[in-house]
Symmetry: C2
Subunit: 117 residues, 2 copies
DNA sequence: GGTGGGTGCAACCCTATAGTTGCAGTCATC
DNA sequence: GATGACTGCAACTATAGGGTTGCACCCACC
C-alpha cells in the first residue's frame, strides 16, 4: 500500500490527451503546420476555443510554435505537433503496466504451485 | 488537415489516468489487492469517492475485481490493477508520436538540402 | 484612411465531475 | 437480537474546464 506518487508529467500529459477536440487538433498538426485560425476553420469550434486548447497542449509540450519564419513577417502563428512527450509517456506507462502484470503472474504461479500438492 | 478520429479507447484511458487520486489508487492496487474500505483508510478521501474512482477505473479496464474467493464469504470486494490496457495505450501513443516526429525530420532534411544550394 | 485577416484578453454560461454526507441493506460476531 | 464492518445508492455542493461572445490591437493591402 505504498503510495509512491506518480510523476506529475504523466497526469499533465494524460489530461491534455483526454479530450477529443485536442486530439483532432493534434492529428491535424501532426500532418501539417497550421495556425489557430486554420484549425478553427477546419473544426466545429471557435478560434478562441482552439486557442485555449493550444495553450494546454503547448504547456504540456505536445505542440510547439514553428519558429517565426523571417521570410513572412505576417502575424500568423503556426503550430506543429511534437512526438517526444508521447514517446516518454508511452515508455513510462509500459513499465508501470508491466510491473502490475508481473505481480499478477507471480500470484498465479504461486496459486498453481499450491494447487499441485 | 485530415481529421482522422482517434480510437475512443485512447481518450477513455487518458481521462481515467488524468487524475492524481486515481493514480494513488492504481499504484496501491498494483502492489497488493485491496478493498474500497482499505483504500479509503490509506488515502485522504472518503470511501464513496474511492468507489466512484474504482468505477471509472473498472470501466476503463485498468482495474478488476479479484474473483470472489470462496474461502472468505465476507462481503469485502477486492480489486487489483491490470497492466494490459496501459501496454496497449503505450503502443498506440508511441506510433502516433513517431509519425509526428518523422514528419518534422523530413521537413528539416528538406530545409537543409535547400540550404546547400 | 478604411477594410479585412490574424491575434490576444476577459467576461460569461453550462456541463462534467471530484468530493461530501446520509441512509439502507447484508453478513459476521458477541 | 444488537453491534460493528462492509457495500451500494442517492442527493447535494463546489470547482474545473470546454465553449461562447465581445472587444481591442496589429499589420497588410486596397
Amino acid at each position: 500500500m505504498t503510495v509512491n506518487s506518480v510523476p506529475a508529467e504523466i497526469t499533465t500529459l494524460c489530461a491534455a490527451l483526454a479530450e477529443g477536440t485536442r486530439w483532432e487538433i493534434l492529428t491535424a498538426l501532426g500532418s501539417e503546420d497550421l495556425s489557430a485560425s486554420d484549425l478553427a476553420r477546419a473544426l466545429p469550434v471557435s478560434r478562441q476555443a482552439i486557442a485555449k486548447h493550444l495553450q494546454v497542449l503547448e504547456s504540456a509540450g505536445l505542440v510547439e510554435r514553428t519558429r517565426a519564419v523571417p521570410e513572412s513577417t505576417s502575424g500568423s502563428v503556426r503550430y506543429h505537433a511534437v512526438g517526444a512527450p508521447l514517446a516518454r509517456l508511452a515508455a513510462q506507462l509500459e513499465t508501470i503496466g508491466r510491473g502490475w502484470d508481473r505481480r499478477l503472474a507471480t500470484i498465479k504461479e504461486v496459486a498453481e504451485a499450491r494447487e499441485k500438492d
